[in-house]
Structure formats: structure tokens, C-alpha cells
Amino acid sequence: MKQVVQAEEIRPPITHIGVIGWVKNNLFNGVFNSILTVVTLFLLWKVVPPFFRWAFIDSAWHTTSQACREAAGACWSIISMNYRFILFGFYPYEEQWRPLLSMLILFGLLFYSRDRSHWKKPLAYGWIIGLFTMGLLMKGGILGLPSVESTQWGGLPLTLLLAVFGLTAAYPLGVILALGRRSRMPGVKILCILYIEMIRGVPLISLLFMSSIIFPLFLPEGVTFNKILRAQVAIILFTAAYIAEVVRGGLQGMSRGQYEAAESIGLNYYLTMRLVILPQALKIVIPPTVSILISAFKDTSLVVIIALFDLLKTTQSVLSNPEWMGFSREAYVFVAILYFLGCFSMSNYSRKLEKELSRGD
């Protein structure tokens, strides 16, 4: 008993608690780690302050390109002077509030959908109405809105459009393919495997080439789809194969008992899948699905190669203007930040979701 009392009175040495203790435990535990820390700190010191200086102190924020060329630091003016073209492309200048509003609706819906307790029927209707409104806003032609051809859509709205519609259409297709691959019917199974492996074996860019160059030849004379739609189809077909693989993982994770139980109460294949298997399997694979989502979002940038004016292409277009030539660093950093914000919030969300799901609520 005496000893216990004593132990309460003696505090741990100063080097084991507080800031010093933390530093000692996390940065200087051992010779090797200490050297690593010192080297890393030195490198950081070499890189971060000059970058900070370049980006914030010596930089030009809202000037002409002439003033920009004289500034020692970054020239953010390329963004501030051209942001409307970068963000909206060829969309008629006076009408640009429409894509802006559409994007706000999209962000609003996404934000609302973050919370899993909102995942109910009304939300699905909300999405349908929302997507429809966005399409209407962009296209116009009614309610006194001048019609804007989809060939004139560009910039960030185009990027988001390709990503959002690409995923909504690819998801069901991917689920069907995954079910087909797990099917007991050899014919269906072979077809699905062929499709999935073929698509996963080739780069997206070859599909985009196909959609932009040879797809029109597949159609009978006189039937054409516009370029954006064709690129969209290529992205859907591509993403579906990847979603199929993820969903297959989920289906494989289902125990046989689930199938047997469903069969024993007389459910047919369709009902078994819809009511028993898919709800569970799809829930398991939400996190990997989000990472497919992220890569699909990033992959939309590839449409640059077939001359669609998405966010990256409009930026390059500004960069090819002689006035702003040579400020690639700033322009690409800006675009990178936009993509980063999108992808980071998604991956963050996926981590959060993963935690929630593993808690098993």
C-alpha cells in the first residue's frame, strides 16, 4: 500500500510528457530517426519558404500580363483575368449564370447527400429533379432562356457533366455486368468476362479515339451523335467495367447461406438479388466504389485529347494566347487545386464512410 501512494506522488520525468516528450518519442527516437528528422527539416526549410514567397508575397494577383512579367513571384492574374473562360468555355458570356447555378445545385445535392441518414426515397427524387433542372438550365430553349447548343458547353460544367452522368449511367451497367460474370449461365458469363477484361485491358484514350473517330462509321448513314455525347458513352463503357469488378468483389463476399436462405423462402433470381444480395453487397463495396468515382472524375480530363473544351482544355487555350504564354505553372496549379478539392473531399468522405460502415451501424 505504501508503494502505491508513493507512485502517485512521483511524476513521470519531464522528458516523457508534454511537448518535449512528444518530440522525443516521435521525432528523435533513435539515431537513425534523428538524422531523418534533421534532414527532412532542412529540406523543408529549403523548399517551403521560397515557395511561400513565390506564391504569396512576390506574386501578382490582379494585373495586366505586362505587370505580371515584371513580378518576381507567381502570376495569379492569368486566373483572375481569364477565370470566366477557364470555368465556362464557349458558353455565351451573358448566359454564364446558368452553368453557375447548375453547379451550385449539384454541389448542394452532393452536400446534402453526405449524411447517410438522408439516403431515402425523397433524395433519389431530389437527384432526378436536380439533374433534370441542371440539364434544362444548361440547354435552355424554354421559359425565355435562349437555347445553348451542347457544342458550346465547356470548362468546369463539362468536366462535372462527364463525371456525374458517366457515373450514374455506368453504375447500373456495372452491376448488371458483375451479376452476369457471377451468373451460372456459361454463355452470359463468358460475354461479361470478355467485355470486362477487354475494356480493362485497354487505355481510356483508345476508347475515346474510337468514340470520336470510328464510332460514327458504325452507325447507319444520317445518324450522328454529337462529340460530347460520344465521349460520354466511351467514359460510361469504360467506368462500367471497373465498377463491375468492384461489385463482383462485394458479391463474392456474400456467404452461400444468404443465397440459400433467399431461395428457401421461394424468391426468384431477380427478387433474391434485389432484396437480399445486392443491398448487402453494394454496401460492402461503397469505399472502393468511391475510389472508382475519384478516378473517373480525374479521367474526364482525357477528353482534352479529342478536342473537347473541358476545364483543362480551356486553361490550355488561355495559355496559348500570346499575352499569357509562359505562365503554365500558375494555370496548372490552379486547375490542380480544383481537381484536388474535388477528389480530396471525395476520398475524405469515403474514409469517413468506411469507418461508419465498419462500426456496423
Partner: protein, 394 residues
Amino acid sequence: MKDFKDSAAREKVPFWLDPKKRAILFQLMTFAMVGLLAYYLTSNTLINLEKQSIATGFSFLQKESSFEIGESLIPYSAANTYARALLVGALNTIKVAFIGIVLTIILGTIIGMARLSTNWLLSKLAAIYIEFMQDIPILLQLFFWYAIFYETLPSSQEALNPGAGIYLSNRGVAFTIPEPHPAHLYMLLAFLVGCVIVYLIRRWARKRQEKTGQIFPVFLVSMGILVGFPLLTWWVLGAPLKMNVPKLGGFNFEGGLTVSPEFIALLLGLVLYTAAFVAEVVRAGIQSVSKGQREAAMSIGLRPVPVLNLVILPQALRVIVPPLTSQMLNLTKNSSLAVAIGYPDFVSVANTTINQTGQSIEGVALIMAVYLFFSLSTSVFMNWYNKRVALVER
């Protein structure tokens, strides 16, 4: 039970309720639909091609390409055929993919280890790197590195000279390389012989250790053989020292080995991007080995290196290899973005071919076939390796 079966057989089941027949019917329908669709598309295409009198077939491959390619592993000129031009493109793809994969695995492993390091600073930096690289499209990164390369570096007249014989300019990096000499071939042979010897020594050392418990310093001896053999050969053959130093010609560096900015930008982009994914794979693999394994290994007196080599890695590799394979394939597929920054890879050459011959269907089909071949052969190889790793683990 028997009665029930018999009665069921007697009552004739309509064929659409018989699961077997229904399955066959369904499959026939699916095949019919896919076949119909395929027939429909092909016939359309044929009609269209016929109508517009567009040439078809692969006979263009034998025609003179009449375009030049910037970099090539095999001799090539505009007088060669399209087939050879495409081969040059395919080899360029293999070159960048191979070097990229090797560098990616090294960098990815380092970053993955750093992420797991007990050093807080290092671990956090690695985490930031991984998150950042994963969240920016690879195409944007390629454009960025390419633009940085030619906008930041000086012209070849004012090339930077960071080390002896290395010149850095917006025309690429020029290295000094040894003048070609027959000794090099023998050095390569010596190296290969060294590899065989090292392999034998390792086997012998393991057997001896299993038998007697004595440890042979395999690593040091191997290194000595691998470096020493070629050096010895070089010295025996008269130690040729003549170097091919890059010199500034009229426009560019001549002589030496010049690596183009397109190649460097592509390689840099691919490696930095893919390494972030590989780091995550490595981290997950190492974390998958439970702590108890390490503790158990240490408790029987193994030192850190054998713990890693004999206990952790064999188990971790089993988890690492499959996702690593798909990352390697991703890198190969992403190398097709070279077309955007002007590196003459297969897609880029095929693109030019399509443009000149107008035979887009054949061109795109070639692109797809080549990548499918790359993908399938890589997966076959990795599957074989994966099986080996799995067997070792038992």
C-alpha cells in the same frame, strides 16, 4: 420423397418454368442479340466504307511511312514501312513502361515505408504526398512537368552543368557515356556470369545454414562478385577510358546520350503519380502482417534485417502483389497519354498513321490489340509470380 419426385415429373412443367431450359433460352437470346448488334454495326460500317470508297485492310503496313520519329531504339528513317514505325512506337512504350515500373516500385516502397515510419514528420510528409498525387489527374501532371521542363530550363547554349559530363537544357538531359568498345560486351558477359555465381552461392549458403547454423555473409560477397567481375574484365581488356562527351553542335548537343524532355516529363509524371498508389499498396501489405509475427521473430533472436526478409516480406508480398500488378498495368496504360506531350509512343505513332492513311478502324484496332497484349502478358507473368510467392508462404 420418392412419391413427390414422381408426381412432379408426371405433371408436365411448362418450359418457361424449367430453370434449365429457361437458362438455355435466355442465353440463346443474349447471344442472338449480341450477334445481331455486331452484325448490324459491321454491316453499317461496311456499307459506309464501301459508299465513301475508303480503303480497308492492313496492306498499308507495308507502305513507306514517310514520317520521321524523334527517338527510336532501333534504326528507323522515313523510308521505312508503317509496320516498322509502329514497332518503333511499341518499343518506345515498352521502354517508358519498363523504366517507369522499376522506378515506381523503388519510389513507392520508399514512400510506403516512410508512411509507416515511427518518425512523425516523415510519416506525415509521406501521407501528404500520397493524398496530393492521387488527387490530381495524371494528364495534368504530365502537362505540368513538360511545361516546367521547357519553360524553366535554359536553352542548350546556356545549358546547366550540374555534374561532370551532364548537361541540362530545354532540349533534354545530355549524359556522357563511354565510347563504344568491345570490352563492354565482355563486361556484360562477366556480369551475367556473376549473377549465376551469386545464385549458386546463395543456394549453397542457405543449405549450409540449415545444416550447420553458420551464417555466410551472402550480401557482401554477392555485391563484391557483381561489381568486381565486370571491373576485373574491364581492367584485363586494357581499361578503355575514352568517353563520348556531349558537345554543343549547331543546334543541339551532339554525342553522348541525350534523353528528351518528352521522355523525362512522361517518366516523371508516371512515376510520381503511380508511386503514390504503390506506396498505399506497400503500406497495406506490411500492415497486414500482424504485430505478433514481428515480435515472435524477434523473440527467437532474429535481427531486424532477417525479420524483414524471412518473416515480414514473404507474408506481405502475398497481399502486395495482386494490387501491385494492377498498378503496373495502370502505368503502362497511362503511358498512352504520351500522345499529349509528344513522346512517340505507340498511340502517338498510330495516331499519325491513322491521320496519314485515313484508316482509322485499323489504327484504333491496332492500339487496342497492342495494349491488350501488354495487359494480358503482364497479368500472366504476375499471376505466375503470385503463385510462386504464395507457395513460398505456404
